[in-house]
């Protein structure tokens, strides 16, 4: 009995000691399991990353007020990219980590910009922090096993001009192509560029 109690104590103690380390480990890192989350979409329905087990998932940190985001929506580039891979079973989730954004504002912008994908409500920026996001757009590609395989900028041209999209390398497109064809992702991580995410006040 005493032994059992001691063991139990030891197990609990180990658990407590391991906790801070585990919390630290959980943050998104390329090559490791993408942390799970549950957020509400623009219709108020809960969406979890784990709902899409076995599928490739793209995460897109979104803020409709950011010119670097507008760059990819003004002429439909982002929608076209998402639709191109939708046919191949790729799930695309936009996440709005902007402090002050609401489910209603996400719904309004989805309608205005013809976004038929979920825009997830993360106005407390919890998922943005979990994914170490700094900018909008900040992009992520998760493979069928749930491993994070790309994080960073959407493309190679740090501009807010739509006309600069054509000459740039789209890293998300590149990563998805590589994943679907079973080849190596040549650029698995880059520094994101765009607007600084508007996190809630500290």
């Amino acid at each position: 009995m005493r032994f059992a109690l001691t063991s139990l104590f030891a197990v609990v103690l180990m658990g407590v000691l391991a906790m801070p380390a585990a919390a630290e480990e959980q943050k998104a890192k390329v090559g490791e399991k993408a942390p799970n989350f549950t957020l509400k979409d623009q219709s108020g329905n809960e969406v979890s990353l784990s709902d899409f087990a076995g599928k490739i998932v793209v995460l897109e940190m979104f803020n409709e007020q950011c010119p670097f985001v507008v760059k990819h929506y003004r002429e439909g580039h982002m929608n076209a990219l998402a639709n191109k891979y939708k046919e191949q079973g790729v799930v695309w989730l936009a996440i709005n980590p902007t402090y002050g954004s609401t489910i209603e504002s996400n719904k309004a912008i989805a309608e205005k910009w013809n976004i038929d994908r979920p825009i997830l409500h993360d106005a407390e920026s919890k998922v943005a922090k979990l994914y170490r996001a700094t900018n909008t757009p900040h992009m992520y590609v998760i493979d069928q096993e749930g491993t994070l395989r790309y994080m960073g900028a959407i493309d190679s041209n740090r501009s807010a001009k739509t006309e600069d999209i054509d000459g740039a390398t789209n890293y998300v497109d590149q990563a998805l192509q590589a994943l679907l064809s079973g080849s190596e992702i040549s650029t698995p991580e880059t520094k994101a560029y765009g607007c600084t995410i508007k996190f809630p006040p500290n």
Partner: protein
């Protein structure tokens, strides 16, 4: 004290265009007939001359929280005598633009000066920036209210031209709750002179004094800079230590960036009366196999003469060895 020219002497084509627009709008509001048409004609003429590109920029400039103007430290150019040119940024309250290293999420402000052949233009000097810790602990380095990005210009020993056209292209990202990228082309023309004719002396004195010192350079206050790199796999923890020549407060460390490196968890400690230690982690981004082996950093401090800074350099972790096939 020499007389200083007013800003109207350095007016840009941009400004003229805005002025014309204002005239038309004001008259239009009054509902005037012929005057409006006449002025509109003048406006169209100006537009025609300056081209559609300028008009597009004008609308951007009018609504931007930051405006840029071109200034020089002389009102006329003398052969062989160096002077300074600068882009002066006026930033609305609550907005900021970025230093040459933007921090974790910013984009550097860039200025490029263009002078006639035979003139040499030095490197653009960035004054000591401030740090903004944005919610979410995102660190940025840059400027609020006003900033002057400057460069030395050396004219040739002999000048055959009578006027010196100076052009500058400024690019920035201005942020408050959101960010707006901007760019502006600026130009001015200075006459050629035989005698020195300084201008904007107070402005340039103020801002050149804010340009960071270099280690062992004049007026700087730190010495004995050493960095230890503790590498663990691809990542490293750096410890940079230095001593001060004077009692310093508000000591901080603003590292440059590299596309392949993430520099985080910067911690500055005072370890003795005039001894400081900075620790920070450097983690190469996944997939990157090379990066700068040495980066610069600005050590900022408040010393006896106020807030200033010294540029130093620090080593980065060793990249992985190339695989032999």
């Amino acid at each position: 004290m020499l007389p200083m020219p007013g800003w109207h002497d350095l007016v840009t084509s941009q400004d003229i265009l805005e002025y014309r627009t204002t005239v038309v709008r004001l008259s239009g509001d009054g509902g005037g007939g012929l005057t409006v048409k006449l002025q509109l004609c003048v406006f169209m003429l100006v537009l025609g001359v300056m081209g559609a590109a300028a008009s597009a920029q004008q609308s951007a400039a009018a609504s931007s929280p930051v405006t840029a103007e071109l200034v020089a430290s002389v009102e006329a150019v003398k052969a062989g005598e160096p002077f300074m040119v600068a882009v002066r940024f006026n930033i609305q309250p609550k907005w900021h633009i970025y230093w040459k290293h933007g921090g974790q999420a910013g984009i550097p402000t860039e200025v490029k000066f263009e002078l006639p052949e035979g003139f040499t233009v030095g490197e653009v000097a960035y004054p000591v920036p401030i740090k903004f810790v944005q919610p979410g602990d995102i660190i940025g380095y840059g400027y609020e209210n006003e900033a002057l990005l400057m460069a030395y210009v050396t004219p040739p020993e002999e000048l055959s031209i009578r006027e010196v056209p100076i052009k500058a292209r400024a690019k920035w990202l201005v942020c408050a709750e959101t960010c707006i990228p901007g760019r502006q082309d600026l130009s001015m023309t200075l006459p050629v002179t035989d005698e020195s004719r300084p201008a904007n002396a107070a402005l340039f004195a103020e801002w050149t004094a804010r340009v960071p010192a270099v280690i062992d350079g004049y007026g700087q206050l730190i010495t004995n800079v050493k960095t230890e790199v503790r590498q663990d796999g691809r990542d490293a923890v750096n410890t940079t230590t230095f001593s001060a020549f004077a009692t310093l407060s508000d000591v901080d460390f603003y590292p440059a960036g590299d596309p392949g490196l993430r520099i985080e968890d910067i911690k500055v400690e005072q370890t003795g009366e005039k001894e400081f230690r900075v620790t920070y982690t450097i983690s190469p981004l996944a997939g990157f196999k090379q990066w700068a082996r040495e980066l610069e950093a600005l050590v900022v401090y408040t010393g006896p003469a106020g807030r200033h800074g010294t540029m130093i350099t620090f080593p980065t972790p060793e990249p992985p060895a190339e695989k032999q096939n």
